[in-house]
């Protein structure tokens, strides 16, 4: 921001600032994608290649530091931390994606119905949403998990239920803003049946914001899963998850911080990556929307 280009020194083109911002976004976005890629590849490929077994006890190497045999060291029972972290990644990603998908699949149609139909449907859905939002999300998930009993599907449901209202609200708001657009009116004038309008006009146009929102929630769901497992009401033992690993390592925090550090770093990097991707996705959407 010094001076303007003047009479004589006119450059052929000013450097567009938009592009610069995008380049900055690209960098973090690539790192985030790279981490998730590495995690997934490692999750699938490393255990068979290295012969990792998350449950194998090695009594000769309890609390061992990183070594050629145990890359990240071992825990109190001599189990390989890398093996457990990677095995836990499977559960965490499954629960994260699965519970978000459940929440979206329930919440979005409800929200669309409320937004499109208005009146009674809106009143009923909004009431349910308000009631659900009245509970603190984590407490609700806790209660549900405790009530349903520990199992992977139950954990997914327990995490999904508190997320449903957010999806319903988003879908309702998006649908209502679409309803003011003339193309929906145009479809109605043609005589398009309501279901067809929802499927062909509304769904494609709310997919992007819903996806971006879902991505953020995958991170949150992984976090909640960690919390539930940490409290011992999540995924049942002996299946390792990042949450249970942190819980188990708690006792040995001073003795062997690696036990907590390994799952924590995995969790942090994963959630950070997902959030960065979500941010980038949201940003792209807004710049595109603003430009057109």
């Amino acid at each position: 921001m010094t001076t303007t280009t003047t009479a004589t020194g006119g450059r052929p083109a000013g450097t567009p600032r938009v592009r610069k911002r995008r380049a900055g976004g690209d960098w973090t976005h690539v790192v985030a994608l790279a981490w998730l890629g590495v995690l997934i590849v490692a999750m699938i490929a490393l255990p068979p290649i290295l012969g990792l077994d998350p449950l194998a006890l090695d009594s000769t190497a309890r609390f061992s530091g990183p070594s050629g045999e145990h890359w990240l060291g071992t825990d109190d029972l001599g189990r390989d931390l890398l093996a457990r972290a990677l095995d836990g990644a499977q559960v965490s990603l499954l629960v994260g994606l699965g519970s978000t998908a459940i929440a979206a699949l329930v919440g979005v149609p409800l929200g669309m119905l409320a937004g499109y139909r208005g009146r009674l449907a809106d009143a009923v859905v909004s009431f349910l949403v308000d009631v659900l939002l009245g509970f603190p999300g984590l407490v609700l998930a806790l209660g549900l998990a405790a009530f349903l009993g520990p199992s992977v599907p139950n954990v997914m449901i327990a995490i999904a239920v508190p997320l449903v209202p957010a999806f319903a609200r988003l879908a309702r708001a998006q649908t209502m803003s679409l309803l003011t657009r003339e193309f929906i009116e145009a479809s109605r004038v043609i005589g398009t049946p309501t279901l067809s309008i929802m499927r062909r006009d509304i769904v494609p146009n709310i997919t992007e914001p819903v996806l971006a929102f879902a991505l953020v929630n995958v991170g949150r769901a992984i976090l909640i899963e960690g919390g539930l497992s940490f409290l011992g009401i999540g995924v049942p033992l002996p299946q390792p998850t990042w949450g249970t690993m942190i819980n188990e390592g708690r006792v040995y925090l001073t003795q062997s911080p690696a036990i907590i550090l390994a799952p924590s770093v995995f969790m942090m990097l994963t959630i950070l990556s997902i959030n960065l991707l979500a941010d980038r996705y949201l940003l792209d959407r807004t710049t595109v929307a603003g430009g057109s």
Binding site: E182, F183, E185, V189, I190, G191, S196, P204
Partner: protein, 347 residues
Amino acid sequence: MNQPHSADHDPVLALHHGRVVYPGPAGSGFEAIRDVSVTLHAGEILGLVGESGSGKSTTARAMLGLTHLTSGSLTYRGQAVTWADRRFRSRVQAIFQNPAGSFNPKRSLLDSVAEPLRVWKRGTKEQRRKTALDALGQVGIPPEVAARRPNRVSGGQCQRAAIARAIVLEPEVLICDEPVSALDVSIQAQILELLARLRAERNLAMLFISHDLSVVSALCDRTAVMYAGEIVEEAPTLTIANAPTHPYAAILHDAAAAVTPGAAVGEPLVPRGAATVDGRHLAGCRFEEVCPRATQLCVTDHPELTGDEHAVACHHPIPVAPAENDVYVRSHPSGSAEGTTQRSARP
């Protein structure tokens, strides 16, 4: 006067004494239109002029069956149309103001134009594609443009495609809600020409809504002027364009003349208040707070729309000067109390 293009005597679509109240907070309602009657004949274009908030769009939505009538009725070929009557849906089509906004941004123009045929299960997919391309061709959209999404074409092209979508089902009625307001002057003229051509070729009945009297004057056979949810004057277009009798129509006329190149402006009628004051709350004439000709009668009595060929809702319409005079006289009704001197022009 304009000869109506083989106007049938029976109206195709008619709104009778339509009233629409939008529910408001705490039981209050907003009366968007009150006692509005609009009749559309085949081959005739009716213009509806008014400013924002006058109820033009609500009238259009009511005629499309998109809004519940609080009272009054809508008839298609003499038969009452019930809410969301599907048979009527293919016969009455619409064009909206925002060209790009009336297309699904995720689909190509061709897809959207073929959509009505899909909904009505006309022909095979290939036939529908051909019919849609044909309709697009008729409005001057070549196939390569038709394959684009709405954000990749100009506003004028989008509006043409919207017209193609509206005619692809061969409707009898076209409701156009501000179809040219968002367009450049040169493109606006293209769309007006296209609409005039379609009316002649297909004997369409049209409702053409605009805030701009000059646009309406160029295209429409009859014109109705709306104010605060009511029709205040309706007459053959040239009558309203050249010698409006309702004071509001005269103010609109002056405003349009003031920005029409080369138009002669006589002494303008000066509104007493902001012309956007909404008189829906008034017991008498809704235009009374603004009207330079208002008297005590206007405060107490609501004027009804009277007259046949030239209907006006005013206690003190502006008298039309003899034809040989170029400027008609606008005298204030003699200040006598109660303003009983003049009544509506025709019984």
